[in-house]
Amino acid sequence: MPDLWIIVVLIAGAASTYVWRALGVALSGRIDPTGPVFEWVGCVAYALLAALIARMIVMPVGPLEATDLGARLISAAIAVAAFFLARKNIFFGVTAGTMALIGFTMAGIRLF
């Protein structure tokens, strides 16, 4: 029998997530897609995504906290380099970056 508390937490977490999606639908009818407000919302969407991704790499919450910051940064740089060298092949870039972090962690290399 699972603990009731985790069920409450998961439902609350799902609700805290869905509320943004529903709010997006509700508001979208009121914003002119050719107007400046819409353009601004688009910029904020991309900025939020980039901020989140950068935070997940530089200051992760969760198990990645145990890995080295330098190893994560260099692995991310390797991913970008491999991606562009392989003519924007995402699969190649992702594989190279992930392998790099696994390698650093297995070797126990700490840069800073």
Binding site: W20, G24, C43, A47, L48, A54, I57, V94
Partner: protein, 230 residues
Amino acid sequence: MFFSAAKEAAGMPALVLSASYVGFGSLVRESGIGLGLGLFSTLSTWALPGQVVLVELYGVGAPLLVICLAVALTNARLMPMVITLMPLVHDPAVPRWRYYLYSHFVAVTAWAFSMRRCPDMPRPLRLPYFVGFAVSLWIASLIGTTAGFLLADSVPRPITLGLVFLNPIYFMLIFATDLRHRARAMALGLGAVLGPLLHTLSHDWGLMFAGLIAGTVAFGGERLLRNRHA
């Protein structure tokens, strides 16, 4: 269109996303949460960064309000993402309430692919493309969560960490393919700098402020550049 989009997603995007969810599945196992509840999280939340934050905070015994706030602020991006996608996929023949169901499928990968592909498609095909793509990824995420949970004990720790790391790397490269649009490129660049910076000031609100400031500066910068060239 639904099935051809589902098939397109079932290749590399599903593979990479399910691998990311393998990382989540093993995190669920380590935190002492059952497989059923892990799958429930993927099914009902389906926004990986928020799910990781939730499991982490649950693990350290944070109060419910703190968890909700952290998850909500991590996932706030979904609102502007939905607003940006809606006019692109909107089909006048589809009743409005259904968009409240479809909006649940808005998450980074399906959104980024739809933002890129849909403008070149006839309008009636766009919504099926988005939903087909997303459903395929949704299923892949559930498979990944299950695999990660079942394999948690047999996979060496560095590999699990690599799979958790795979997710931000994948997201980063998705956006690196799409830097032609000047305002979006500026927003991405500024956001990437401000995100970690403001996170050091506030773990809760940093992300939201980074997005608002970087997005607004990019928007203003774009207008300024456009007016100068006009």
